[in-house]
């Protein structure tokens, strides 16, 4: 089957300042196929998608869509290319109808009449959401899943010749994902090219006709339908050096017997979802997983005192009195030795205008005050050096701005900030987002050393691979509450993924128990 080439990228490279997002990217997609772009986080998938959509432009190389260059989203629209971006881009203040048709017309001209549009919009939304949606409703008052469908419906309404889905199924549950897939099938049979950018292997094995694999900004190859298997994909996605098993060497130790350093009782992190209990055994690493927006994010924030849960109580064993003390505020967290590290460096991490030194030391100023509240730099300097050496942070002068560092090294500074507080518990919220492999490895090593010395770790990650061989237990969130705890050899890609989609292996057993009870 030799159909028309719709997308062609030749030798494309793109850098953002120091970071090379794409090094060498060659890519072709045909009409009437579902083509997946696969790679780990930070391998350049989204950059590729943004280039095809005209949002970004290549530094070198050529991108052509249906034989034309795309210089802006307006060009893309004209050519017939539509992208559903990772973020749920809706105008909260505007109506569903306006959100569906944004950007469809010229500045002053409208192509079709309002009545036709309403009928069309009604039909597609009903098909996607599964029930009718009021087109005049203000989008801001709708649940996230419906917003996600609005974004998808907006794209489908345009009858695209090329549709790019950039991690678009992230906020959808399993049932909705199936509906999305049938929508993708329909477009393919109409001769459109559908690109799915994803790191969900199970999803693409099911629906992709071909898959192109990206690794560290380089396209390493394209697999045909019959070659798309989990093993093939994983071996192409992961560099050879990591496959040799450094991560897997670490056998997860049975530590659940250790006394809990942090407990949560009847915790509710979502207004309506169920309450749950949580225990963090001393000296263990507990992973936290879930699809976007399933409550795991609010959960780790509540543990660190950043947000208040809707109900329930978080307690930490005080190092001074050896009694359990409630943790409600950030102050409590600081006093009880709970540190928080965010992977969202821009919004919750770095002070971009400040030096590396200040960024690392800011959390311990309070403990190092001299007369009149003057900060004692002399005691901070050895601490700074210790953390920099330990975490192998590559820095020039400590007084350089933190933004002079790469993303990975910025993250290390933030982890150094957490360690500098001498904590009992470190709560990490997706810290490895967008950092390179070397940094990840340093991070895992340090966290293990930390637990060997009696520290405890809560580690939220959006990448399942991170837990394997690293976490002692993985708690998976679904529907706003703790759905399932996995231990031992259950900590593997398949069970974690299944739980993330709300599928429990033991579902039938539980059901039977309920009936007999």
């Amino acid at each position: 089957m030799d159909s028309e080439i719709t997308i062609r990228m030749v030798d494309v490279a793109k850098a953002f300042g120091e970071t090379k997002a794409l090094k060498k990217c060659d890519f072709e997609a045909r009409a009437g196929e579902v083509h997946a772009i696969v790679g780990e986080n930070g391998s350049g998938k989204s950059t590729m998608a943004k280039m095809m959509s005209g949002v970004l432009h290549p530094d070198t190389g050529k991108v052509s869509i249906l034989g034309e260059r795309v210089l802006s989203p307006i060009d893309a629209k004209r050519i017939g290319l539509t992208t559903i971006f990772q973020e749920v881009l809706v105008a909260e203040e505007a109506s569903v109808f306006d959100n569906l048709y944004v950007g469809r017309d010229g500045v002053f001209k409208s192509q079709t009449t309002g009545g036709d549009r309403r009928a069309e919009a009604d039909e597609i939304l009903t098909r996607l959401v599964g029930k009718p949606v009021d087109l005049d409703e203000v989008v801001g008052s709708l649940p996230l899943s419906v917003k996600q469908w609005i974004v998808i419906a907006r794209a489908i309404l345009r009858r695209p010749r090329v549709l790019i889905l950039d991690e678009s199924s992230a906020a959808l549950d399993l049932d909705s994902t199936i509906r999305l897939h049938s929508e993708i099938d329909r477009l393919r049979s109409e001769g459109a090219t559908v690109l799915i950018v994803t790191h969900r292997i199970a999803e693409l094995v099911r629906i992709a006709d071909r898959a192109t694999i990206l690794r560290d900004g380089i396209t390493v190859g394209t697999l045909e339908k019959h070659e798309i298997t989990e093993e093939n994909l994983l071996s192409m996605m992961t560099p050879a050096d990591r496959r040799s098993g450094d991560v897997a060497e670490y056998a997860s130790r049975a530590k659940s017997a250790a006394p809990a350093i942090l407990t949560a009782r009847n915790l509710a992190v979502h207004r309506t979802a169920g309450k749950f209990d949580f225990d963090l055994p001393k000296g263990s690493i507990v992973g936290v997983a879930g699809l976007d927006g399933q409550g795991q994010d609010a959960f780790v924030r509540a543990l660190a005192g950043i947000v208040q849960p809707f109900g329930g109580d978080v307690q930490v064993r005080s190092a001074d009195t050896d009694r359990m003390v409630s943790l409600r505020t950030l102050d409590d967290a600081a006093n009880l030795g709970v540190s928080y590290v965010s992977g969202d460096r821009k919004r919750e991490g770095i002070f971009p205008q400040q030096s590396i030194f200040e960024n690392l030391a800011i959390g311990v100023y309070r403990k190092n005050l001299g007369a009149l509240g003057v900060i004692r730099k002399a005691t901070l300097k050895p601490m700074f050096k210790r953390e920099v050496d330990r975490l192998r942070i590559k820095i020039g002068s400590p007084s350089n701005k933190i933004t002079s560092l790469s993303g990975g090294n910025q993250q290390k500074v933030l982890i150094g900030r957490a360690f500098a507080n001498d904590p009992q518990v470190i709560v990490l919220n997706d810290p490895a987002r967008g950092v390179d492999l070397g940094t990840k490895r340093d991070l895992y090593r340090e966290l293990r050393l930390f637990t060997d010395k009696g520290g405890s770790v809560v580690y939220l990650s959006s990448e399942i691979e991170e837990f394997i061989g690293f976490a002692d237990r993985v708690d998976v969130f679904f529907g706003g509450t703790l759905f399932r705890s996995l231990e031992g050899n259950e900590i593997a890609e398949e069970p974690i993924l299944a739980s993330m989609f709300g599928k429990s292996k033991h579902a039938s057993v539980e059901f039977d128990l309920e009936r007999t009870a």
Binding site: K77, V102, F108
Partner: protein, 323 residues
């Protein structure tokens, strides 16, 4: 526009507060006396309120375009149009109504066009650009005309008499509403709202956001021209400084009308209600005898009512989120 106006109020909750305030103020004014509800009273009210209503309309599309683009230059721009009209046009014997109106509208649109280009292509925060516009024009106005003086064209003198409700000033107002009514039905208006609500979303969806922003400014500038005409009619002369006071009043009217300064929410009806409410507040206060401090009391009342209406708005919109 009354029937569609009522429907708009019942649908758009951001109009609840300004509409409610309007009714309360109207009742209060009626309670204090019948002065406003006579032919002369109403004619005077229209004359005084029109420049503010039009100034509020002038900044509405610009605020709606988002990015926190409050146009601070609108007051001095009205002043600039006023003094150039008196000095350059009337001073040189050009009094033809067509020429005068074209000058006012064209100058406003041209100035806003330039401001839009600076905002888009120099990539400076809009508020800085319009603040510069405010300062530059305030100075230029005094260079064109160092002290109040001159006379409006003869045909305009009768506009400012304030003896009949159906004066040309009312016509100006109706014309402005008509233009807006047409605008509301265009795709441009929809694009404008989407750009203001979420510029990134609009951009990635293929809305030509820069073109939309430029048009928003040009439309705003044209309204500023109409505002300057009604202002000139009101004072029947040229004044280099008085126009500047409209900036803060217009912004207040806009917020009182329920618009969001971060864009996406707002409209002509809200801005108009806001401006009328401000007029009613000062009218109401003028029926009390505060002596020499009455001006200060009015200002203070604007501030308090602004804060109060924002607070009420928070409750109205948060109720929606729960429902």
């Amino acid at each position: 526009m009354s029937s569609s106006g009522i429907r708009q109020v019942t649908q758009d909750r951001s109009l609840f507060v300004p509409a409610g305030l309007f009714l309360v103020l109207l009742l209060a004014v009626a309670f204090r006396g019948q002065g406003l509800f006579t032919n002369n009273g109403l004619a005077g009210a229209i004359l005084v309120a029109t420049p503010l209503i039009l100034a509020a309309l002038a900044i509405t599309p610009i605020v709606m375009a988002g990015r926190g683009a409050v146009d601070l230059s609108v007051g001095p721009l009205m002043g600039f149009i006023n003094v150039t009209l008196i000095t350059w046009l009337v001073g040189n014997g050009i009094t033809n109504p067509v020429a005068v109106i074209a000058w006012a509208v064209g100058l406003g649109a041209a100035f806003q066009f330039v401001q839009a280009l600076v905002i888009i292509y120099v990539r400076v925060a809009p508020i800085i650009v319009t603040l510069s516009g405010f300062l530059v024009l305030s100075g230029v106005n005094l260079m064109v005309m160092s002290r109040p003086g001159g006379v409006a064209p003869d045909w305009m003198l009768s506009w400012g008499a304030g003896t009949s409700v159906f004066s040309p000033v009312l016509l100006l107002l109706v014309a402005a509403f008509a233009v807006w009514g047409v605008l509301r039905r265009t795709m441009f208006y929809r694009n404008l709202r989407m750009t203001g609500a979420d510029e990134r979303m609009a951009y990635t969806s293929g809305v030509p956001v820069d073109v939309v922003r430029i048009i928003a400014h040009v439309v705003g500038g044209a309204f500023a021209g109409l505002a300057a005409l009604s202002y000139t009619a009101l004072i029947s002369s040229g004044d280099p400084t008085q126009g500047s006071t409209y900036t803060l009043q217009a912004v207040t009217a806009l917020v009182l009308g329920g618009a969001s300064l971060s864009g996406g929410r707002g409209g002509a009806l809200g801005s108009t209600l806001g401006a009328i409410n401000m007029f009613l507040i000062s009218y109401l206060l003028s029926t009390f005898n505060f002596g020499t401090v009455s001006g200060f009391v009015t200002q203070m009342a604007f501030g308090l009512i602004l804060v109060g209406s924002l607070l009420v708005n928070v409750f109205v919109t948060s109720r929606r989120a729960v429902a």
